[in-house]
């Protein structure tokens, strides 16, 4: 018995694994069959009736989301009968739909808008008054506009099957049917409810945070990785006017499926925080003055060269990319005897798993690259609030590097005794007062790089925002410095730094920047667990 079947869809022959639905088989040919209730992450109730296709020999049109492909089947997704049916179904949807696209947040990415524009009737024939529900606050970040709902029940099934926290249901019947919460218990306090906004095919469920903020077509989408915990859900940054407007999950079955948690989704405002360091500066305290990058790096290079052999202490960050941390370790290694490499990172008391997709867990570590920092030789210090733990570093009298740690719990005495103190950060800090060099670096959203998530998966993120002033990615600054000190070529891209990192750290062996792509690649298991 073979485990593939061959069928004909719209005149094209296609071979798919057994058990593939017609909808997916058509997708492999690039044909999208319209659908509402079907979602690849949920069960298929075949109730929206818009994915019906004509199968030769079958007495009626078949719902393509639940009809499995069979050998020798001849399917027409675009035959007159299928089209007429879709037009009819769409007309029924519009009997009560308010068509308030101008004020609807979904406008521009709405499946009803798209389908009606493609295939719908030019004019509706219904002359009845439309029913009106108004809107309902579901709690949490979710608002419900009942008039726009197409009753696909994706949201209900998500809460039942994936979140396993049944908080939504259909009440009433027929044209009076609406989605509702149970009495006064809404979505407040649920950990994954934000996903219902993503999967709602129309503008019935919208995010309060994003309400009226931007139009879908004005947003730029950048593939990225959620920086709010060490699960590293694949996400997209949606940006406009050089500000992150919202985060959306990006499908990756190895990490987060189609989902992301509400904690991660809501934590993006820090990427837009103003008051950044914009220009490099040199000199301690009152002697601080602006310098340009060239002279800052040249002077720093000369000083590091002269001081070779000194004891070096390094404070890194679990929010910094692998590239930045590896380059930092390389610079420190060239500068002298490295006696400590530490990072501090916040930890949550609990983990929050997604019951219906157990791979996805909001992890203890609320920073994206705790595991990468560990593999690159950095040790955790401080408490679960990312405080304390730097007592011996504060009074160190050799060379001191700080990257990406704002030292919020430290005062102006930090680093006073250091022979050379280099501070690389996005924000100024009182504890940077004694720094000989303050070098502005980009944040996660403004650079390319990679993180290692809690599963030992190396994942790339891309640049979504322009950096302010002359801030540069930390890997570029440190990579140039390491290259000068080590006498090898200056890296020009994050890919160059990553190649150097792979060569220098056995844990990353075998990986290439291109192989990481947008889905990431797993580290060899012995590197993670041994």
């Amino acid at each position: 018995m073979t485990d593939t079947v061959t069928l004909t869809i719209d005149g094209h022959e296609v071979t798919v694994p057994k058990g593939t639905s017609l909808l997916h088989a058509a997708e492999t040919l690039g044909t999208e069959v319209p659908h509402y209730c079907y979602h690849p992450g949920l069960t298929a109730p075949a109730q929206c009736r818009i994915c019906l296709v004509e199968v030769e020999g079958a007495p009626k049109l078949q719902p393509s989301c639940v009809t499995m492909a069979q050998d020798g089947q001849v399917v027409h997704t675009d035959s007159p009968a299928a089209k007429r049916m879709r037009q009819g179904v769409l007309e029924f949807y519009l009997v009560n739909h308010p068509l308030d696209c101008p004020i609807c947040d979904m406008s521009g990415e709405c499946m009803l808008q798209d389908y009606v524009f493609d295939e719908g009737r030019e004019k509706g024939r219904s002359r009845e008054p439309k029913r009106v529900f108004g809107r309902d606050d579901f709690g949490g970040d979710v608002l419900y506009y009942g008039d726009r709902c197409v009753m696909c029940t994706r949201c209900v099934r998500f809460m039942d099957e994936v979140a396993r926290d049944s908080r939504l249901t259909v009440v009433e019947r027929g044209s009076r049917a609406v989605i509702d919460t149970f009495f006064d218990r809404g979505l407040e306090g649920a950990s994954f409810a934000g996903n219902v906004v993503d999967i709602c095919p129309v503008g019935a469920l919208v995010s309060k945070d994003f309400l009226h903020k931007a139009r879908a077509w004005d947003l730029d989408h950048t593939p990225s990785v959620c920086p709010n915990c060490s699960q590293g859900c694949n996400i997209e940054l949606h940006t406009r006017d050089n500000l992150v407007q919202r985060l959306k999950p990006r499908e990756n079955q190895e990490v987060n499926g189609h989902w992301m948690c509400d904690y991660g989704r809501a934590n993006y405002e820090w990427m837009n925080r103003p008051g950044r360091l914009e220009e490099p500066a040199a000199g301690r305290g009152a002697k601080r003055r602006r310098v340009d990058w060239k002279s800052a790096l040249e002077h720093l290079f000369v000083q590091l060269r002269a001081g070779v052999g000194a004891e070096v202490k390094v404070v890194g960050s679990a929010a910094a990319s692998n590239e930045a941390l590896a380059a930092l370790a390389a610079v420190a290694g060239e500068a002298g005897e490295v006696s400590s490499r530490v990072f501090r990172s916040p930890r949550a008391a609990d983990e929050v798993p997604l019951p219906g997709f157990p791979l996805l867990v909001r992890r203890h570590d609320l920073a994206p690259n705790v595991d990468g920092a560990g593999l690159l030789g950095f040790e955790r210090t401080g408490d679960d609030e990312a405080k304390g733990g730097l007592e011996d570093v504060a009074g160190h009298d050799g060379v001191l590097f700080v990257l990406g740690d704002e030292l919020a719990d430290r005062n102006e005495d930090f680093g006073a005794a250091a022979g050379l103190y280099v501070y690389l950060g996005a924000f100024d800090s009182p504890a940077a007062r004694n720094a000989d060099y303050v070098l502005p670096v980009t944040t996660f959203a403004e650079e390319e790089g990679s993180f290692v998530n809690a599963q030992g998966r190396v994942q790339r993120y891309r640049q979504g925002l322009q950096s302010p002033g002359s801030a540069r990615p930390a890997w570029l600054v440190l990579g140039a410095l390491a290259a000068a000190l080590g006498g090898h070529g200056t890296p020009a891209t994050a890919a160059d730094v990553f190649a150097g990192l792979v060569a220098a750290h056995a844990a990353f062996a075998g990986l290439t920047w291109d192989a990481l792509g947008d889905r990431g690649a797993a580290l060899r298991t012995e590197a993670v667990h041994g």
Binding site: P102, I103, H212, R215, D218
Partner: protein
């Protein structure tokens, strides 16, 4: 195609009289002196009669209760070829979507009228208005209040009795 050249023959200089042409021109001048046809206007005492489709500076329509009709749908900033409309949407205290910021830079505007054409709620209009002198340049960025205050007639981009020109 081959290029052909036509050679013009003119009388030699000094062998032709311009008297006839001069008299013709003078007679026209005299005719206008006794029976003038006026094409200029005594502006500003006299105002020009603008064509219904004449497009000038904008005007925002308002509801009876004084709210702007705009629902901040974002279509006009999207369609505007000069990219001169700035819009920030929000929600007012009655739960209606409305423009928190709505600005048109009239210097950049090319008066194409597409904003009026695209507006789903007939809020923004180009107008029958051209007297826009100001003392400073920044006064040419019209904000929402200014657009709502305008009271000149709006442009008719299509015939209301035959909107599709059928």
């Amino acid at each position: 195609m081959a290029i052909s050249v036509k050679v013009m023959r003119r009388p030699e200089a000094g062998r032709t009289s311009y008297m006839r042409a001069t008299l013709k021109g003078m007679s026209l001048t005299f005719r206008h002196m006794v029976r003038p046809t006026k094409v200029t206007l005594e502006y500003p005492e006299e105002q020009p009669d603008l064509h219904p489709r004449w497009r000038g500076t904008h005007r925002m329509e308002v509801h009876a209760d004084g709210r702007p009709k705009c629902v901040a749908c974002g279509l006009c900033p999207t369609v505007c070829p000069a990219n001169c409309i700035r819009l920030v949407g929000g929600e007012d205290d009655q739960g209606n979507r409305y423009p928190i910021v709505y600005e048109i830079d009239e210097f950049r505007c090319i008066f194409c009228g597409m904003c009026q054409e695209v507006c789903p709620v007939e809020a923004i209009h180009v107008g029958q208005h051209f007297e826009n002198a100001e003392y400073t340049r920044d006064r040419f960025v019209y904000d929402l209040d200014r657009l709502m205050e305008q009271d000149h007639p709006v442009t008719l981009l299509w015939d209301p009795s035959d909107p599709r020109s059928e």
